[in-house]
Symmetry: C3
Subunit: 353 residues, 3 copies
């Protein structure tokens, strides 16, 4: 089981390689030659000439590359241990919705067979999805089982200052072993987030983040949708992820022909991710939980760190549609698709409503 | 003729140098000293002391730097071999507009005297510009002369799923030597793109991309313009390019005073490029081929990978106006302007209409 | 006093470290062990065993990290030598507003105790804030005391071509020791900038930049605000800065409860900076000096190089609110907050108007 530091190094090197180098196809041939030496290999004990590497034809090399691509796609959606972003039911205490969170270090399988340490709320990356309504009274109890202090910032919520979660400005840090309680009446509706605001470059990258969805008091303000999908983007020690997983372990969005899908994009990483949907356009309806005054259409939406964008997709085009970050180095290498790739599957099952 | 891998390395090192280092002016003095040794030079055969390097005054060093800047600007627009983005006339076959494309490896002069391998459609980078109308029936026949498989995704077009161009999801990969035919009725209007969707980080970076412009059936929906300019942005083995070329080999936009210019920005690279026009503002009218509900004005437009933005410029201000990416490291080094720089030339020739 | 090249290297290494590595907490213990060897240290002259490093408990290590965080926050707003972006009063010459600028190399304390060379207008980074009105006649006299040529581009102003400030296109470069005069009638209103357009990757990064604010002739076009704050973003040899300073040397925004704050964001760097305000939302009213046709709300605004965005904040929520770039590596490391962090302080002093 690799340490998270090592996994991060591996990811960065692989990520850098994917983004920055264009290895010649000949590298593929080398990959298939199990006898080839590597810089780290011990010198062979005998000076005898190694057996000649097989010479592959152009077609064989293309087939070898394509087989890797096919394998990834056929594995989708791949099973991995652990699932983040699960909607959390609160306990009720005298009319208050109580959410018990514990942060701790866990092993996280971010892609099939790829593991790294994560710092997680309730052993989920992203943490459990919190869904409440404007005006609700909520209490969030955080127990810190990490070996460093932490705090939660409710990103986008216009809270009283002492609930804002910034150590030494609005509260003391929550020390290892301590439990701390936030309590507030939920102010503004929209697609918000919660995440660490202490040593946050490290803590958020490693997984201390989650969606905080606030439904409006006036339900007529909400668009009617059949599918409501939260998509949290991240880049860090788990690679390029959608809801904590990289392709082919990402979760597809599934809708029936004619249905309406709402997607709530949230970027918790440190890079932009312009998400591109194939086959249908997206209508942008909200930014950071605030209605856009005039919805507008696109097929590629640039999402910067800290931003949330809500879009509506009418599932009018049947089929399985690629849906990925269009920084291509976040989505595909010569070994096939990885990272920020999923699909919108529009099923023909039912006629258009 | 350098290999593309080497060129890419060179580019990346130079690019990194341009972006990340601020060499002292004294480096310029070294550049002008032809006797100075370099790491690659053989050791001198005699131990005799070399003649002393001339000591340059502040003014001489400034003049030396300025001369490099002037040389680049005076060379603009510089001739280079090859021109991309040329509008392609289809052949007609029983009412169908047929576009024959071949992808192959070519040598590409991306800036005066700078060559690298490119993977190109019809030996152009960007590939030939395809211009059709909503409702047209089109057939695109791709012959693959590369040494790896490929496929074309029509980015932005809302096609039937089996024409979407994603290997193993919507079609098999097109193997080396094979020809594959796409055929569809053109759906939504707008500024779209076509590019490889197989090993795309490599294939698109190297040049497998082009503009796919769809004019609306209802011509009254189009703004009346005198100049319609497509500007494809890319960053990869050919450096920072506009329509496949870096400054001073970029193509200027030319308009007469009072004319209206439409610019269709398209980002096929892996970085954002905020394009800044001097002297006049841009009115943003469409995103990804969809009309913006309320046009808005700017002079610097941030274009993310996969995005297309259409803008209108009223050529009201005579002169030659710099037009460049405002990530300054993509546009200028101490050696002068390079990469993502062109100009809008507003000619006084005719009175304002 | 470090050279700017060295400072830049240091910054880049630290910046890279902050962005790319997630050192284990154990590194903190090492930091506190003054006896620990380093790769660069000479071998100890005696083979005697070093004294054992103290073993810190989890709590002690957390406290050590928290103490660094607290120290930075308690120091805010920290005093440093030099202040940029000071509003400059013009001299009047026969109805013309004259601004005398001199660019020169100075020492710049960009954060408490952190110094680097800067190239500055009137020894300020950003240069003095120029505030004029549409229709004003202005004259800007630049004396170049640097050791390389320069020129000023008035970014966003729609000037006659010969005042656009691009060497070899609209004027000759201004050589070391020379004085050059720009003169024009101020055209379009809005939040604009002035900066070098010669060897600009270096010159702008090092500080040759400033705000150029144009108030509209028709004052009824302006929103009524109590506080008008210009925030210039930069990334370069002075680290990640707001108005030339990194946290805790950044300047807080201060408003009384119920007041209205206008913030004019300007990005003079080479990276995006999505600025996030805690506790209250921002209403976006202008882009590059042009009114947005329909203002829209957000709490995180992505600002790309060369862009200016004007927003309005109603100071409705009392307290001290973190306000920072949400690329977390530009704002916080395990050593605490740094770089692009400031605060909006909403004082309860007066009742809501």
């Amino acid at each position: 089981m690799p340490t998270s530091a090592k996994s991060r190094r591996d990811f960065l090197m692989k990520g850098a390689a994917a983004a920055l180098t264009l290895p010649a196809v000949s590298a593929l041939a080398a990959c298939t030659d199990a006898k080839a030496g590597t810089p780290d290999a011990p010198p062979p004990s005998k000076p005898a000439a190694p057996p000649a590497a097989p010479v592959l034809s152009v077609r064989e090399r293309a087939d070898a590359m394509d087989a890797m691509h096919e394998k990834g796609i056929k594995a989708f959606p791949a099973k991995t241990a652990g699932k983040g972003n699960q909607i959390m039911a609160p306990r009720m205490e005298a009319g208050v919705k109580v959410f018990d969170l514990t942060c701790s270090e866990i092993d996280w399988e971010y892609a099939p067979g790829s593991h790294a340490k994560a710092w997680a709320y309730n052993e989920q990356v992203p943490g459990p999805q919190i869904r409440v309504r404007e005006g609700d009274r909520v209490r969030i109890k955080l127990t810190n089982k990490l070996e460093q202090s932490t705090a939660i910032h409710f990103h986008g919520l216009e809270l009283p200052n002492d609930q804002d979660g910034v150590p030494f400005i609005t509260q003391p840090p929550i020390k290892p072993g301590e439990t701390y309680t936030y309590e507030f009446t939920v102010p503004n509706a929209g697609s918000h987030m919660y995440h660490s605001h202490h040593n946050a470059t490290t803590q958020v990258s490693k997984g201390l983040l989650g969606a905080f969805i606030v439904e409006p008091k006036d339900r007529s303000r909400e668009p009617k949708v059949d599918v409501d999908h939260v998509m949290v983007l991240n880049d860090g020690p788990h690679g390029y992820t959608l809801n904590g997983k990289g392709f082919p372990a990402t979760e597809p969005l599934v809708a029936k022909l004619g249905q309406t899908v709402r997607i709530r994009f949230m970027n918790e990483g440190m890079m932009i991710h312009p998400m591109h949907l194939h086959g249908m356009h997206m209508t942008v309806i909200a930014k950071d939980g605030w209605d856009q005054p005039m919805p507008w259409k696109c097929d590629t939406l640039n999402i910067a760190p800290g931003e949330r964008w809500d879009v509506i997709v009418k599932a009018t085009n049947p089929g399985t549609w690629a849906f990925h970050c269009h920084i291509l180095g976040h989505a595909e290498s010569e070994h096939g698709m990885f990272g920020m790739v999923t699909a919108l599957i529009v099923e023909k099952g039912r006629p258009t409503a």
